[in-house]
């Protein structure tokens, strides 16, 4: 897409550890949950970066760090070249305006006591410079129209809308401050199947019209492939593979990516007996006490001694823009074209 332009978001060695403490009177730190542990990537205007991984891998903590809802332990999040972690006060406020979020569950993320107009217009209370008081109603109605809702429904309450319509309200709220970056945390997984496609089409249309950059976090890998330009695979707080959608899906090189992709059920029963399945045993280890070396080695069928001793860096594969963190990375297409 817009590969030539400057990145709008630069994430470098981002780390977030949550302290584990013990004791009531004398609190001692006994360890840390390493939720995000050294993540780096860029995002360009108009681009979509998909983030996939199992629950507990740090996807949502990463989203919170990008929103400046959590302060990073170390590392930096730069938006248009300015470091958000160092910003305070007015500067931070204006940077936050630029990154907005669409939540997963449209049933709990909208206040049932507020009208749709109040919900979508609330961001203007905090950032009044975007829309002067007299203009707000008009702006909210424009937003409703933009996301495909009837502008006359501005005085209705969330319960009067269906799940898909509520998610549109959530999207309109995210767009209210005209951000450049939208973080979508599982935006369609709470919706009925027949409604999901409508919301994905809406997100894509808005991206084209407004040149938005998306961070798209989801567990439905076929949806991520459809919407993403690049995909990052996370495991226990680290990126294990990062590349274009074709590279990740057709030429996955990290064993974890291969296992993850092979576990996704293919919606086509033909040839299901012959499909290759890599079924990982057990659950991911605890992020409080991750394995030494490569974090995936405890579930990996390729693990050797070196994997326990040396942590594999996220290295670019020759002649590509495809990064993999594995000592024994090799391409293995596990997903049949479908």
């Amino acid at each position: 897409m817009a590969a030539t332009s400057e990145p709008i978001l630069e994430v470098r060695d981002l780390v977030k550890h949550f302290a584990l403490t013990q004791g009531i009177l004398v609190r001692r730190q006994i360890g840390a949950i390493k939720a995000v542990d050294g993540v780096s990537f860029d995002l360009r205007p108009g681009e979509t970066l998909g983030i996939v991984g199992e629950s507990g891998c740090g996807k949502s903590t990463l989203a919170k760090l990008l929103m400046a809802l959590e302060r990073p332990t170390s590392g930096s999040v730069k938006i248009n070249g300015r470091d958000m972690a160092k910003a305070r006060g007015r500067e931070l406020k204006s940077m936050r305006r630029n990154v907005q979020m669409v939540m997963q569950d449209p049933y709990t993320s909208l206040n049932p006591r507020m009208t749709v107009g109040d919900i979508i217009g609330e961001p203007y209370e905090i950032h009044p410079e975007v829309a002067p008081k007299g203009m707000r109603r008009r702006k909210v109605q424009d937003l409703l129209e933009l996301v495909g809702l009837n502008p006359d429904h501005i005085n209705r309450y969330p319960h009067q809308f269906s799940g898909g319509q509520r998610q549109r309200i959530g999207i309109a709220r995210g767009l209210a401050l005209q951000p450049q970056i939208i973080i979508c945390d599982e935006p369609v997984s709470a919706l009925d199947v027949s409604i999901q496609a409508q919301v994905i089409n809406l997100l894509e249309r808005l991206q084209n019209e407004l040149n938005l950059a998306y961070i798209f976090i989801a567990h439905d890998l076929s949806v991520v492939r459809h919407i993403s330009d690049r995909v990052a695979v996370m495991y226990l707080g680290k990126l294990v593979e990062l590349g274009g959608d074709v590279e990740i899906y057709d030429r996955p090189s990290h064993p974890y990516t291969q296992a993850l992709l092979s576990a996704v059920p293919v919606p086509n029963p033909d040839g299901r007996e012959r499909r290759e399945r890599i079924i990982l045993q057990g659950d991911p280890p605890s992020p409080a006490n991750p394995p030494t070396g490569c974090r995936f080695r405890t579930r990996c069928w390729k693990a050797q001694d070196i994997c326990a001793e040396q942590e594999p860096p996220l290295e670019v594969r020759p002649a590509t823009d495809h990064r993999v963190a594995c000592h024994f990375a090799e391409v293995h297409d596990v997903v049949q074209a479908h």
Partner: protein, 345 residues
């Protein structure tokens, strides 16, 4: 009103061919303050031994209510079953006494629920809860029941079962909890297992583990499995036949390969068309327009007509019966021929 129909597989011909479980023209209503909600409207399906039937539908389609009616765990009132039969090995369970019913429930027909954490009791150890099946239904002693619980935990592949039998549900991960639910459901070797969205709350890697476990248990014991889900991928992976539900009715019944190749109902076709496909990346996804129906105000005629691209005048005036297309498939659409032709292109 919809007429009753012959089921997906022919039922005539010898005892060996009687279905294990037959749902026949089942209706379930709920009385609510806003009026009577017809949640299930004449649903029929058959399940044979060793077979996997997938019931596919979105929320409000009646797929779970049907399952609860089979299990006999609907709260009545507010629920009511005005018509219909649920025959288990030929006996209509709806006519049985409560006592006879509870002999079947859990022992011969068992169920796995979606949310294992809320289905398990947080204040008892998992060993106690699995063992309960043996103490209550088989009159076993505490100690024997405990032994049985450990055996079962081994069978569903929970590591270190001997130690973990004393743990509480919160000490297990989501996937392990679902294994405990499965252990409880297969404890008494049921003939029918109903799995209501068993993997919806789980990660894909864990989902693959659980589905593999279910398939293996089914092979071992030859039980019939009813898999209730909204995930077209899971259905394609494991099901033998499929019943697609919409607005409290079955709109299409077929063998699984037939539906995915050539759907015969506009709703199933729409669902399949809206799956993102690699060769169509960058294009707009096909989306079924409109919203799922409100069960309190169902559209007249065919429930899918406001969203249907094949709609004609008689779709609004006349609800389509479940037309039989072949002896293995049927579709509740007046224009199933056109839909089938459209799927062939």
């Amino acid at each position: 009103m919809m007429t009753t129909h012959t089921d997906v597989l022919p039922t005539e011909g010898g005892l060996g061919n009687t279905p294990l479980l037959a749902v026949d023209n089942l209706h379930v209503e709920f009385s609510t303050r806003q009026g009577v909600v017809k949640a299930v409207n004449g649903v029929s399906y058959d399940l044979y031994q060793g077979e996997t039937l997938a019931v596919l539908g979105e929320s409000g389609s009646g797929k779970s209510v049907t399952a609860q009616a089979i299990m006999g765990i609907l709260d009545m009132p507010p629920a009511r079953i005005p018509h219909g039969e649920i025959r288990f090995r030929g006996t209509d369970m709806l006519k049985l006494t409560d006592e006879a019913r509870s002999q079947i429930r859990g022992q011969r027909i068992a169920m796995i629920f979606q949310d294992a954490l809320s289905a398990l009791n947080p204040v008892f150890t998992v060993g106690w809860q699995i063992g309960e099946m043996f103490r209550v239904h088989r009159g076993m002693s505490k100690r024997d029941a405990q032994k049985k619980a450990i055996e079962l935990m081994d069978r569903v592949r929970i590591p270190a079962a001997k130690q973990r039998v004393h743990d509480y549900p919160h000490q297990f991960s989501g996937g392990m909890r679902q294994r405990i639910m499965i252990a409880m459901s297969i404890a008494l070797d049921p003939e029918v297992l109903i799995a209501d969205e068993p993997t919806t709350a789980l990660d894909v890697t864990v989902q693959a583990q659980i589905m593999e476990l279910l398939a293996e248990l089914q092979r071992e014991s030859n039980m019939g499995l009813i898999l209730i889900t909204h995930d077209l991928g899971v259905v394609a992976d494991v099901a033998d036949k499929i019943a697609v539900m919409y607005g409290g009715r079955i709109v299409e019944k077929a063998l699984v390969h037939d539906v995915y190749r050539t759907p015969a109902h506009p709703y199933s076709k729409g669902l399949l068309d809206s799956i993102p496909r690699v060769d169509l990346k960058g294009q707009e996804l096909y989306a079924i327009k409109g919203l799922p129906p409100n069960l309190l105000a169902m559209p007249p005629g065919c429930a899918f007509n406001p969203r249907c691209p094949y709609r004609q005048d008689n779709c609004v005036s006349e609800a389509p019966p479940l037309y039989e297309i072949s002896h293995t498939r049927s579709s509740a659409c007046h224009y199933w021929r056109e839909v089938l032709d459209g799927s062939h292109e």
